[in-house]
C-alpha cells in the first residue's frame, strides 16, 4: 500500500512536469493549430536563463525566476517573428510551420551546444532537497510547488482565454485571421502576445525542470512527452493538456512499478492508441460531426 501511494505520488510528480510543459505547448496549438516543436527549445533556454541569472548574475531566486520567464517570452516572440510570421503572411499550410518549428528546435539546441557547450549544469539549491516524509512515503517539496504552479497557470490561462476580450480576440485570430482583422483586431499583436505567454510558460517550466533535474542542451526533447499528453488530453484543450499529462505520468509510473519498466513506453503507447481509437478527439476534445 505504501508503495502504491508512493508510486501515485511519483506519477503525479512526473505528470505535473509534463503538464507544465504541455500547457504552453497546448496554448500555442489552440491558437495556431500547429505543433510548435520549438517549444522544447524555448524551455531549454529558459532553464539556462534561470541558471545563469542565479549563478552568474547572483539574482535572488524570485527575481531570477521572473527574469528567466521574461527572457523566454522574448525568445518565443523572436522565434515567431523569424520562423513563423513570414509563413503566416503567405497563408502557408500547417506542414510548413511544423518544419520551420523543427528547424528552430534544431537550431536552438545546437546553438547552445556550440556556444555554452554540451555539459550538464546543476541549479544551486533553492528549496531544501530533503523530501517531506509521511510514514514511509516521500514527497518532494519541489513536486508540490510544480503541481501548484501548473494548476495556477492553467487557471489563469483558462480565465484569460474564456473570460477576457483579448482572450476571445486570440481565439478569433486563430480561427480566421482575415475575419479577425475585419473586427479591428490587431492580429499580429495578438499572436505575438500568445507566443509571449507561451514563452513565459516555457520559462517557468524550464526553471522548474532545471531545479528538479538538471540543465542540458537536449532537455527540450522531453517535451515530446507533453506533446503526447496534450494530444491524449485533446488538442487545443488546456484542461485536457493538464489532465492528459497527469494521466500519462501516472500511467507510466504504474506500468513501470507494476508491470514492466522495460516495456513501459510500449504499453503506454498501446493504451494511448487504444484510447484514441475509441475517442479520436482525445479525452477532453470536442466531438463534432463535420458540417458540410
Amino acid at each position: 500500500m505504501a508503495q502504491f501511494l508512493q508510486q501515485m505520488i511519483n506519477g503525479l510528480s512526473i505528470g505535473s512536469v509534463y503538464a507544465l510543459m504541455a500547457v504552453g505547448y497546448s496554448l500555442v496549438y489552440s491558437i495556431m493549430s500547429f505543433s510548435n516543436f520549438a517549444h522544447g527549445g524555448v524551455i531549454m533556454l529558459g532553464s539556462y536563463f534561470g541558471f545563469y541569472l542565479l549563478t552568474l548574475a547572483h539574482w535572488a531566486f524570485p527575481a531570477a525566476f521572473v527574469g528567466a520567464a521574461l527572457c523566454s517570452a522574448g525568445l518565443a516572440v523572436i522565434v515567431e517573428r523569424v520562423a513563423y510570421r513570414p509563413l503566416r503572411l503567405r497563408n502557408a499550410p500547417f506542414l510548413y510551420f511544423i518544419i520551420s518549428a523543427m528547424g528552430a528546435s534544431i537550431f536552438l539546441e545546437n546553438f547552445v551546444v556550440a556556444t555554452i557547450g554540451p555539459t550538464f549544469r546543476t541549479y544551486p539549491t533553492v528549496l531544501p532537497r530533503a523530501p517531506i516524509e509521511i510514514g514511509s512515503v516521500y514527497i518532494g517539496r519541489l513536486d508540490i510547488m510544480i503541481f501548484i504552479i501548473s494548476a495556477v497557470c492553467l487557471a489563469l490561462l483558462v480565465y484569460f482565454l474564456d473570460r477576457t476580450k483579448v482572450g476571445k480576440a486570440v481565439q478569433a485570430t486563430a480561427h480566421n485571421a482575415r475575419a479577425a482583422k475585419l473586427m479591428g483586431i490587431n492580429t499580429d499583436l495578438v499572436i505575438t502576445l500568445v507566443f509571449a505567454i507561451g514563452g513565459l510558460l516555457a520559462g517557468v517550466a524550464g526553471v522548474m525542470f532545471g531545479m528538479k533535474y538538471t540543465v542540458y542542451p537536449q532537455m527540450g526533447g522531453i517535451t515530446i512527452k507533453s506533446f503526447i499528453a496534450a494530444v491524449f488530453g485533446g488538442l487545443g484543450s488546456l484542461p485536457g493538456a493538464v489532465i492528459g499529462s497527469l494521466i500519462l505520468g501516472i500511467m507510466e509510473t504504474l506500468i513501470s512499478g507494476y508491470f514492466s519498466s522495460q516495456f513501459r513506453d510500449l504499453i503506454s503507447f498501446t493504451l494511448l492508441i487504444a484510447v484514441l481509437v475509441f475517442r479520436p478527439m482525445g479525452l477532453m476534445g470536442k466531438a463534432t460531426e463535420e458540417k458540410a
Partner: protein, 302 residues
C-alpha cells in the same frame, strides 16, 4: 573530391531517397504526417537482415522481404489509426515508431540494444541506383494515375473526395502501405550498407529528417523529393567543416528555406521528360538563334 567518398554520399542519398519517396507519397500527396517512419525502416532492416543472414536469401530478395514485412505491419496500424485526424495520427505513428524500437531493444536474438553486427556488406552504388530508379519510376507512374490523383484529393479536401466516390480510407491505406514498403527497403539497404543494425539507428530524429526532406523538396512533387534527398544528404557533408556549428547552420538553413521558399524546391511541379526535351530543344535553338526558351520545369498534373 574523391570518388570513394562521393560514392558513399550517393549511396546515402539513394537510401534516403528511397525512404523519402515513400514518405513523400504519404505526406506530400496524401497529406498525412508521420513521425514513425523510422519504425518502418527498422522493421524492413531487421526483416531484410534476417532473410539474408538467417534464411540465406539473396540480397535483392531479402530487401523485398524487408519491404513487404514493413508493408504488412503497416496494414493493421493503418486500420487502427488512419481514421485519426492530423496531429492525432501523427502521435499514433510516433508511438508506433518508438514501440518498434523498444521491442527491438528487448529482442535479444537480434542483439537487443547492443545491435546486430556481421551483416554482409551488399549495398553497392549500382544496386542502390537500380532500386532508386525503379522506385522513382513506380512512384511517378503511381502519382500520375487516377490513384495518385485520388490521394491528392484526400489531401486537399477529404469530404469532397468522398462525395465524388473516392474511398478515402482505402487510398490512405494504400499510400501508407507503399510508403512503409519503401521505408522497409530503405532500411534493408541501410543494414547491408553498415553491416550492423541497432535500434538506435532508427530514432525519431531520422523520421523528422525524412519529413524535412519531403517538405524541402516540395509537397506533392516526386522530382522535388529526388532533388531534396540529394541536396539535403549532401548539405551536412558540405557543412562538415563547420564542426560544432554544423547543425546550427543546418537548423537555420531549414528555417530559411521554409520562409523564403515555402512551397519547397519544386512546389508541386515536376521535372518531366517533356520539359527536359523542351529545355534541350530550347538550348539548341538558343545556340542556333541566340535566343533561349524553356525552363526545364514543366507544370504537369497541376
Amino acid at each position: 573530391m574523391n570518388w570513394f567518398y562521393i560514392k558513399g554520399i550517393l549511396m546515402l542519398a539513394g537510401m534516403n531517397l528511397m525512404a523519402v519517396l515513400g514518405l513523400s507519397l504519404l505526406t506530400g500527396f496524401t497529406g498525412l504526417f508521420s513521425f514513425g517512419h523510422a519504425g518502418f525502416m527498422a522493421l524492413g532492416a531487421y526483416a531484410a537482415a534476417w532473410a539474408g543472414v538467417r534464411m540465406g536469401l539473396p540480397f535483392l530478395v531479402a530487401l523485398l522481404v524487408g519491404g513487404l514485412f514493413a508493408g504488412l505491419v503497416s496494414l493493421p496500424i493503418g486500420r487502427l489509426t488512419l481514421n485519426l485526424k492530423g496531429d492525432y495520427f501523427c502521435i499514433a505513428t510516433l508511438g508506433f515508431g518508438e514501440a518498434i524500437r523498444l521491442i527491438l531493444d528487448n529482442v535479444q536474438t537480434f542483439g537487443g540494444a547492443r545491435g546486430w553486427p556481421g551483416i554482409p556488406i551488399r549495398t553497392e552504388l549500382w544496386n542502390v541506383a537500380l532500386i532508386c530508379v525503379a522506385a522513382t519510376l513506380f512512384m511517378v507512374r503511381l502519382v500520375n494515375s487516377r490513384h495518385g490523383r485520388n490521394m491528392i484529393a484526400v489531401r486537399e479536401e477529404e469530404l469532397a473526395a468522398k462525395t465524388v466516390g473516392i474511398d478515402t480510407f482505402k487510398y490512405k491505406m494504400l499510400s501508407l502501405f507503399v510508403s512503409a514498403v519503401y521505408a522497409g527497403i530503405a532500411g534493408g539497404m541501410m543494414g547491408y550498407y553498415t553491416g550492423f543494425l541497432q535500434p538506435k539507428m532508427f530514432g525519431m530524429a531520422r523520421s523528422t529528417e525524412l519529413t524535412i526532406i519531403v517538405i524541402f523538396g516540395g509537397i506533392g512533387s516526386v522530382s522535388g523529393s529526388v532533388l531534396g534527398s540529394v541536396l539535403l544528404t549532401a548539405l551536412p557533408e558540405i557543412l562538415r567543416t563547420f564542426a560544432i556549428w554544423r547543425l546550427v547552420v543546418y537548423g537555420a538553413a531549414v528555417i530559411f528555406i521554409m520562409i523564403s521558399r515555402p512551397e519547397g524546391l519544386m512546389g508541386g511541379r515536376e521535372i518531366t521528360l517533356e520539359a527536359i526535351r523542351r529545355l534541350v530543344r530550347g538550348r539548341r535553338a538558343e545556340a542556333e538563334a541566340g535566343a533561349g526558351a524553356g525552363t526545364g520545369v514543366g507544370e504537369v498534373r497541376r
